[in-house]
Symmetry: C2
Subunit: 155 residues, 2 copies
């Protein structure tokens, strides 16, 4: 599968907006639901990778979960923060702070870090040993946390 | 990213069960929530691909969405139908019919079809023209429908 370069995520929103213009745009609640679902799938993948780096290491499962994470990271998540989705209820009220819709440059940098570390984990998962995967999984987790710290409402 | 061969999905469930054994197993409601989220992310990807094959064609967006779909398809979704998740509430009551937990061979075949067509779409998205992508997107959709017809409770 072809990987999309990090810098392309910056244009994801406008590209998607133009594609959606061809058909009825999805409702904000639908977009928020998709957004919340993305993070649940990432949580599932993280849960599986964590089980493998802390316990018995099954490379096939780690590769599958890491590939899913990387492909999602590269899939243009910026589109899920489209105008009109600042507030609203998907599965539940959005946990996104208003600032994530305003801090374009900083959010782009954090998103780029996430994409880079996710791609690196997918690479290391293929050949790296358990310790190498664990170290890279930790780096990826830091990029998740960096964004959550600033832009996710605390539970 | 390395693609996992379709036949490997057959062993996904047992592999994952063993990995989860190393740490506290996730609650059934959590697994159902992940399962429901996976299909929402697939729906988002489908929505984007549909917009592109019916309107203005942006290859980068199609590649991103198709790669995400393929990676998720290859990620071992069988684990999300673990024993204990036959009934219960994730984001909402499960829409999975009881038969999906029993018809192992048939479900495996349908899942294999889904993985195969998703991988093919990811391949065609890289070089194929809009018509070719649209045709393959249609084939993929048929594999979704085949499973929904038999194993998803109607809304």
């Amino acid at each position: 599968m072809k990987q999309v370069k990090p810098f392309l995520i910056a244009v994801a929103l406008s590209v998607t907006a133009s594609a959606f213009a061809q058909q009825a745009a999805p409702k904000p609640e639908t977009v928020i639901k998709w957004r919340q679902s993305v993070y649940q799938v990432l949580a599932w993948n993280s849960s599986r990778i964590k089980a493998n780096v802390d316990g018995q290491f099954n490379r096939e499962e780690v590769v599958r979960a890491a590939n899913s994470t990387a492909a999602i990271a590269n899939s243009g998540l910026g589109a899920l923060y489209a105008p009109g989705t600042e507030q609203g209820k998907g599965w539940h009220d959005t946990s996104a702070k208003p600032e994530i819709f305003k801090d374009g440059k900083k959010v782009g940098d954090l998103a780029g870090n996430f994409v880079r570390e996710a791609n690196e984990l997918a690479k290391i998962a293929v050949n790296g040993d358990q310790a190498a995967v664990k170290a890279q999984f930790g780096k990826l987790g830091q990029t998740c946390k960096a964004c959550h710290d600033d832009y996710k409402v605390k539970d």
